[in-house]
């Protein structure tokens, strides 16, 4: 907690942070390099950003990724919240342990395993039910499945700290359980829902391995396009694209973080005021 950090500890901390940030900063610097040679500085230029706007493959992939991200993270928030409520509110029901394990499994399961197993599931479903066809639908389903684990964990911790008696009071005063949930519980867990939606969105936007397995012909998400380009070698327009994505995500996370902290602080003040 309190106390001084020794210079050595501080140095290691700085080193760690430097390791985390230097590559990203260098990448952003390169993206403004006028020269297409990666090791020569040819002056400041935004030409690569302009070129991106004319790259149809990248634009289409970006659009697809954003669409998938929106649908999948919304689905994941709904399902993950339901799972979290089931796990927090009902102490014993058949399959509780199984559900806990399954909700947590995607957090630690290597993506490549998740990807291959989901693909096999979709393929056999297609044979049996002739649905779903590989493409947008399968990517969304797969993303919902792995994002809902993160949602469930986030919402669970929020629900755990929430005051159950508020909901009970509402029901004592005549609110139906659904009404009590919507008017009392939902506002309490709203910050968790927002942050887990954002987390799901970035996870979905970033996913390469699972998408590659479950997507069909013609459905290439942005990470898939980036991967195949990077595989071919370093290209300056990818630097520009990467910088754009990193900055967009960075700004979103910082805004979300500030908003979260502010609501948290307000809540603390309210709690303190109520306690007086």
């Amino acid at each position: 907690m309190e106390g001084r950090n020794s210079p050595l500890l501080f140095a290691i901390l700085l080193l760690g942070i430097a390791i985390l940030y230097i590559p990203i900063l260098v990448l952003i610097a390169y993206s403004f390099n006028a020269s297409s040679l990666v090791n020569v500085w040819g002056g400041f230029s935004t030409a690569w950003y302009g070129q991106l706007l004319h790259n149809r493959q990248v634009l289409e992939a970006a659009l697809l990724s954003v669409e998938v991200g929106f649908v999948a993270s919304t689905g994941a928030v709904i399902m993950g919240t339901l799972a979290a409520i089931a796990l927090i509110r009902f102490n014993a029901f058949p399959g509780r342990l199984l559900l806990t394990g399954m909700v947590n499994a995607p957090l630690v399961m290597p993506e490549i395993i998740t990807g291959i197993t989901q693909l096999l599931l979709f393929v056999s479903m297609l044979q049996l039910l002739s649905w779903p066809h590989r493409g947008f639908t399968t990517i969304v389903i797969a993303h919902v499945a792995f994002c809902m684990a993160y949602v469930a964990v986030t919402v669970q911790s929020r629900l755990q700290s929430a005051d159950r008696s508020l909901e009970e009071a509402a029901m004592d005063l005549g609110a139906s359980p659904a009404r009590a949930f919507i008017d009392v519980t939902l506002p309490i867990i709203a910050p968790a829902l927002l942050s887990s939606w954002l987390l799901s969105f970035t996870l979905s936007l970033d996913d390469l391995v699972i998408s590659s397995f479950v997507s069909g012909p013609g459905a290439g998400t942005l990470p898939m396009v980036i991967y195949s380009k990077v595989k071919l070698g370093v290209s300056p327009d990818i630097n520009a694209l990467a910088s754009l994505i990193i900055c967009a995500v960075g700004v979103c996370v910082i805004v979300a973080g500030v908003v979260m902290r502010r609501t948290e602080r307000r809540r603390m003040l309210e709690v303190q005021a109520a306690g007086r």
């Binding site: 990666v38 339901l82 630690v108 290597p110 993506e111 490549i112 096999l120 990077v230 370093v234």
Partner: protein, 267 residues
């Protein structure tokens, strides 16, 4: 409803045996064919080598992450409250940014004409560029760089909850700082060490993007073998067998992680 969804998920995570056969090229052969795939794993030594290489790489990267991450988490936990939240944010931010792009960014540093080599050449420390790309070293660097936040955060969570009066008591009773650390702080932070190590180790074993982009032909990690088997050779049954064998290998670490995680939630 949540239960219903979760059942769909089980099927997704662990496909039944028959499903693996469902996609096998030969529908008529059942169990016998599936065993042939597993046998194949033992006869072709590529798989054994890849499993061992993956485990070794993941193990040593985890150790290095721990060696770097522990002091970081410790320093953050001892900082003042306002500095703490800023530092935590700084650690979490890369975790949100794209994994693929960060690996790509690292390539910009370590490739033959990258920043590191250019700087070293200019300083006159080396005559010829260091070949880091396409070697095991690049894979190690990639894993450490990508997974460091996963190590720091659980360690910080444990260290922060630590009862600091214990440390003070030990110091008051005359223990030198290093003994306070080795006999109080370190043993009490074991759950965090285990959680962080598992969070790095498990995904690192199955890592695909890092060995594929930074590694060379000799960095055969199991994730890459699986990918090549699947997309390159289109041999789905063998790829499935590789995946299942891999999963069996990871059951232990995953179980340890879940156990400590559950205990920490209860505490």
């Amino acid at each position: 409803m949540a239960l219903k969804i979760s059942f769909a998920e089980t099927a997704a995570r662990v496909p039944p045996f028959t499903e693996i056969l469902h996609v096998s090229p030969d529908h008529r052969l059942h169990l016998s064919l599936s065993f042939a795939n597993y046998k194949y794993l033992f006869t072709d030594e590529v798989y054994g080598v890849a499993y061992l290489y993956s485990l070794r790489t993941a193990f040593f990267s985890t150790l290095i992450c721990l060696a770097l991450g522990y002091p970081m988490a410790y320093a953050i936990s001892r900082a003042s409250k306002s500095v703490q939240s800023v530092l935590l944010f700084v650690i979490i931010l890369p975790f949100w940014t794209s994994f693929l792009l960060r690996v790509y960014a690292l390539e910009g540093i370590i490739r033959d004409n990258g920043l590191l080599n250019t700087a070293l050449l200019h300083l006159g420390l080396i005559r010829h560029p260091l070949h880091i790309m396409r070697t095991s070293l690049a894979v190690y660097l990639g894993i450490i760089y990508s997974y460091l936040p996963f190590m720091v955060l659980p360690l910080f969570a444990t260290l922060e909850k630590l009862d600091h009066t214990l440390r003070e008591a030990a110091a008051d009773l005359g223990s030198p700082p290093w003994r306070v650390f080795s006999e109080i702080t370190l043993p009490l932070s074991v759950p965090g060490i285990i959680a962080g190590s598992m969070l790095v180790f498990i995904p690192a074993v199955g890592e695909f993007v890092i060995p594929s982009l930074l590694g060379g032909p000799d960095t055969l990690m199991i994730g890459r073998v699986l990918w090549d088997e699947f997309f390159g050779n289109h041999d789905w049954p063998v790829a499935s067998a590789v995946a299942i064998a891999f999963l069996v290998l990871l059951v232990g670490p995953i179980a340890i992680y879940q156990y400590y995680n559950a205990r920490q939630l209860e505490a």
